[in-house]
């Protein structure tokens, strides 16, 4: 029997299937309690993440298939998920899939200052590698991504936001 942690770590994100939940950093803990129940702890990327129930079902099904009949998934809100939790393997998988990986998350110390100029990032086009990129929108097809266009190859691409 494969360890429950290994089973859970192989389950992929429903919206970014090139990443495992472990690579994305939302899989916080896999433990077996006294009663023998596997308890998986998730931290959602965004408050309104609509994929949580699907993640739970995917985890429970993978565990059941691996022989863990009794398992449950709980959500932990604190500390809040940060894009810094995406693993190096996860970042490589994102780039491979044409999605630009996030830079370091902003420091959180005191009130957030308001910047009225477009957010500056050192994003690279995941297709041609150019640094000549333009922000189209801070919001993309999912809450965790911004939209960019490459000024060199003119292809649009998504960038996982720093949060």
């Amino acid at each position: 029997m494969i360890a429950a942690r290994e089973v859970a770590e192989r389950v992929v994100d429903p919206e970014l299937p090139m990443l495992t939940l472990a690579d994305l950093g939302v899989l916080r803990d896999v433990e077996v309690d006294e009663a023998g129940t596997v308890v998986v702890t998730l931290t959602p990327t965004y408050s309104g993440c609509p994929a949580l129930t699907t993640m739970r079902d995917d985890l429970l099904r993978a565990l059941r298939t691996a022989g863990y009949a009794d398992s449950r998934v709980q959500v932990r809100l604190a500390p809040a998920w940060s894009s810094d939790w995406i693993s190096p393997a996860g970042r490589a998988a994102l780039t491979e899939a044409g999605i630009s990986a996030p830079g370091p998350a902003p420091e959180r110390d005191g009130p957030v200052p308001l910047l009225l100029l477009p957010t500056r990032r050192t994003a690279r086009c995941p297709r041609c590698g150019s640094r000549e990129v333009a922000l189209l929108s801070e919001f993309g097809a999912t809450a965790c991504k911004a939209l960019y266009r490459c000024r060199s190859c003119w292809e649009p691409f998504e960038h996982v936001k720093e949060i």
Partner: protein, 311 residues
């Protein structure tokens, strides 16, 4: 799903789970709902449950009602990027609302309206879909009809500036769930505020028409701004118990941000007084404008027609 399964579009087709919204035989397990597990922490010692639940409800209703209003832009915003941005902001607020309403119900289980036995509707949905208008505790600013793009941008700017300042302080709440969701929500609200502030400046310096509309929007919303920053008894109580924040204390954080945006946009600080309540009662007291009842009629109709979730 694993990587192999994700590559196969047919994998999971015959699996009966949350992939299917209305899967036959899908067993509802309220205690296993991921959101339910996040809001069950015990209430801190000495905290009055009724007051704490009312506070969560109030903050949840602000987010729920604005999320519903912003969703009206889905498919009809000026361009695709703004359409997606507004929908994403709505989704973030809906997520905050869900956690806050679920926490309100966890603290005071008598709060959600009762439904027939066997109804699969979770507590937060009972609060959202089965409460009367007078049970909603949101400020009136969020319930007004969505208006034009300038009106929407101005509303997001005012609301997110206030709520971000609030959540930065609420992250120190004695209630662990409120503290956690505020820390999380603040990061989301920082994006909302940035989006709205940049558009505010853009519209102010755009064409005569965009500036005219922006100033009209600000003039129309300002009478309702006061309701956000004035302190309601629910907030007095929540602040006294160390679980909430007195909005009067936020002025030092909020005003410099709005001053920065107005100065950049060359817009004067409005000098319009507050919209009065009805015999002093306002949104936080359950006294709303007609717009909320119309919005709720549309938002609640399907859930109310099918309280058992079956048809």
């Amino acid at each position: 799903m694993t990587h192999d399964e994700a590559d196969n579009p047919y994998a999971g087709l015959l699996v009966d789970d949350a992939h299917w919204a209305f899967g036959a035989g899908q067993e509802f397990r309220p205690d296993e709902d991921p959101v339910a597990t996040a809001v069950v922490a015990p209430v801190p010692e000495g905290v009055d449950r009724t007051a704490a639940a009312a506070y969560c409800l109030m903050l949840g209703d602000d987010a729920l009602v604005l999320a519903q209003r912003l969703s009206e832009w889905c498919g009809r915003a000026p361009d695709l990027e703004e359409d997606i941005a507004l929908s994403n902001i709505a989704l973030d607020l809906l997520g905050q609302a869900r956690l806050l309403l679920a926490r309100a119900a966890a603290i005071d289980p008598t709060l959600p309206p009762p439904l027939p036995d066997g109804s699969p509707v979770p507590p937060e949905d009972r609060l959202a879909f089965f409460r009367e208008e007078s049970g909603f505790r949101n400020v009136r600013m969020v319930e007004l009809p969505v208006g034009d793009f300038a009106e929407t941008i101005t509303r997001i700017l005012l609301f997110s500036t206030w709520r971000l300042a609030l959540f930065e302080r609420l992250a120190a709440s004695r209630d662990s769930v409120l503290a956690a969701l505020a820390a999380k929500g603040a990061r989301e609200l920082a994006y909302h505020r940035e989006f709205a502030a940049r558009w505010f400046v853009t519209l102010a310096g755009g064409t005569q028409e965009s500036r005219r509309r922006l100033l009209a929007a600000l003039g129309g919303l300002w009478p309702l701004w006061h309701e956000l920053v004035e302190t309601h008894p629910i907030e007095v109580e929540a602040a006294a118990q160390g679980i909430g924040v007195d909005p009067g204390s936020l002025v030092v954080d909020v005003e410099p941000v709005l001053e920065q945006v107005f100065a950049t946009a060359q817009v004067e600080w409005p000098s319009i007084g507050a919209l009065a309540g009805v015999r002093g009662r306002k949104g936080r007291d359950g006294c709303h404008t007609e717009a909320l009842s119309r919005m709720l009629a549309e938002m609640q109709v399907v859930a109310r027609a099918h309280p058992r979730g079956l048809w």
